[in-house]
Symmetry: C2
Subunit: 237 residues, 2 copies
């Protein structure tokens, strides 16, 4: 009886540790989500103060990444988990790498916002980005939601959006090139819009990676590098 | 005696498995190194056939990544390693993510090489990239070498190069902007050079990440997000 009770105690502690890791990942996810939204807003409205705030959050995100990483390795070494628990911990280590890179991309956008001269500010110069921003925001929210609920139902919808993001991105680049040719004095500013579009497109890729990690945790299938149809087939299986 | 013999047998098998993983990582490293060098050469010399070859290697790199990943998780689940062995396996999972991303960047350069019209080819348009290419090549070689020999002696030298790469990259971007303003008909081509410079700069970042993973394996210290001086201090300690 004592052994069983102590077994239950250990298992309860283990559950708590796993829940703690999960909770920290979601905190980190919320932070980089906020960083991305604030960086884009700072860039579009030329708000340098907000951009500084985004950059200041970088340390918190980095520390959280290292802390979660350390927690996962510690749990693996001490508890020697297998099956879904091991998949969860290994995948968390990968998810937080993607989250940290999303934070980096947000930081790149924020740095451009700081460099902008507020007097140059023309709101309608950035309307090209609006659609892309909304799509990528949706993908990131969706991927974090899939992780929070360990639900792979919505994964195909999110990764399908990535194809739309790529098309939108290509079309923005084309528009920007035309504008640069028409008015070469605007090249520097247009390049900033172009880098921002690129950063957003990358954030979309990271959101897809997070979705793939969730599929791996839930089903044990490695669905990286699959075509959209193959992915959808694997998820339904 | 029997137990000891069987213990030795298991330990021997374990060593073999670890050596096998290490060997595969180096194979993957050699492949992406080749991809990067060939992609740049294809871009500079407008060699579309070579660029196609780079893209074809992508599947091999991706499959190797998934295979190594699977091997590591399998070994962790079955052997329940701790200390340096666990650090090695977790770090390998991260190193191969960086290697795969380097392959992706090489693929991006190759795609631009394919899009180029060979008749437009002017060799001296790309001389801006030469210095950057050599620096990044050196960083990647150095980081793979550090991994192969588990030697952190050269790490500070490699990460110090990253600051030079960033400066060189910024200077290339400035030159390109000037050229675009002077001759707006050349904007598309100049943007390709700009994306290539960006891809190379990112490859340098991944090489630094690999170095940081090697420090973690050897010393158990997480040296990500440190300033250069702090990193050098940690390594010497």
């Amino acid at each position: 009886m004592e052994n069983r009770a102590s077994g239950q105690h250990i298992s309860h502690l283990f559950d708590e540790e796993m829940e703690n890791v999960r909770h920290k990942v979601l905190t980190m996810g919320g932070l980089v989500q906020q960083q991305m939204e604030q960086a884009v807003l700072a860039f579009i409205t030329s708000d340098q103060e907000l951009a500084e705030k985004v950059l200041q959050q970088d340390d918190t995100v980095n520390n959280l990444e290292m802390e979660i990483d350390h927690d996962c390795i510690e749990i693996i070494a001490r508890r020697q988990p297998t099956a879904i628990d091991l998949r969860m911990l290994i995948s968390v280590i990968k998810v937080i790498t993607d989250l940290e890179r999303i934070g980096d991309e947000a930081g790149r956008i924020a740095k451009m916002a700081i460099r902008l001269d507020a007097t140059d500010y023309y709101h309608d110069q950035y309307h090209e980005l609006n659609h892309l921003v909304e799509m990528v925001k949706g993908m990131l929210n969706g991927s974090l939601d899939a992780f929070a609920r360990m639900d792979i139902e919505s994964v195909a919808k999110i990764t399908r959006k990535d194809e739309k993001v790529d098309r939108e991105y290509t079309s923005i680049i084309r528009q920007l090139i035309t504008q640069m040719m028409e008015d070469p004095r605007n090249i520097t500013r247009m390049l900033d819009v172009l880098w921002t579009a690129r950063a957003l497109e990358r954030i979309g890729d990271h959101a897809c990676n997070i979705c793939e990690h969730v599929v791996y945790i839930v089903k044990g299938d490695d669905v990286r590098h699959l075509k959209q149809e193959e992915l959808e087939h694997k998820i339904k299986k």
